[in-house]
Amino acid sequence: MNIDPFSFEVWPIVKWFFVFAFFLYVIFSLVVIRQVSLMNKTLDAHFEKPVALFAYLHFFFAVGVFIFAFLVL
């Protein structure tokens, strides 16, 4: 008799592992936004708006992937 040890318990745990990892990534992207805005205040660089925009896009992407992982897995 062939019993699949992964069929019942493991995948929900793996799912929450993935979701937690993506949650940490969302926190990381928030830190990036905060740091970029602080550094833009420190420095009067000419390229600050695209960097800030990219930091926000990065954050929204991270949130999107977090929700996607939560729903798909």
């Binding site: 990892a21 550094m39 660089a45 990065h58 992407f61 992937v65 996607f68 897995l73």
Partner: protein, 140 residues
């Protein structure tokens, strides 16, 4: 790093995962790659060295949670060292400039900057100008 998931066709090491987990794992890999690239870009972009006629400013963005900003007056500079070493630095004329000051922070490091000799020369001229100003009793 960005091409690594393509190798999964040759080396199916995550084939034991269900397809949705496999997709999210690859997505996660690309996010880690994006984070790595973006953080390296930020640490390059926000590592700034500024030389004015009155002071030098060194802004070090070491990583996302650690940064260091220091400045010193030009007349506090004690010595300037230029280091150009290796084939790449010699070929492309970039290197490090170390500035020793009498102020609290002992050493300013301008790392991997283009034309380091020019920076040292400008610093030398500024220090000479400061000395002249001091001798002549000028404020600026």
């Amino acid at each position: 790093m960005s091409l690594a998931p393509l190798l999964l066709a040759k080396f199916p090491i995550i084939d034991f995962l269900p397809s949705n987990f496999r997709f999210v794992a690859i997505l996660g890999w690309y996010m880690i790659t994006l984070a790595f690239v973006f953080e390296n870009f930020l640490s390059w972009f926000f590592n700034v060295n500024i030389v004015t006629d009155e002071r030098i400013v060194d802004i070090d963005f070491v990583n996302l949670i650690y940064k260091e900003i220091s400045d010193a007056d030009i007349d506090k500079i004690q010595d300037v060292t230029v280091k150009v070493g290796g084939v790449a630095q010699t070929m492309f004329n970039y290197g490090d400039v170390y500035i020793q000051t009498a102020s609290e922070k002992p050493r300013f490091e301008f790392l991997s900057i283009p034309k380091p000799e020019d920076v040292a020369k400008i610093l030398q001229e500024l220090r000479d100008e400061e000395k002249r100003e001091e001798l002549e009793g000028r404020v600026n």
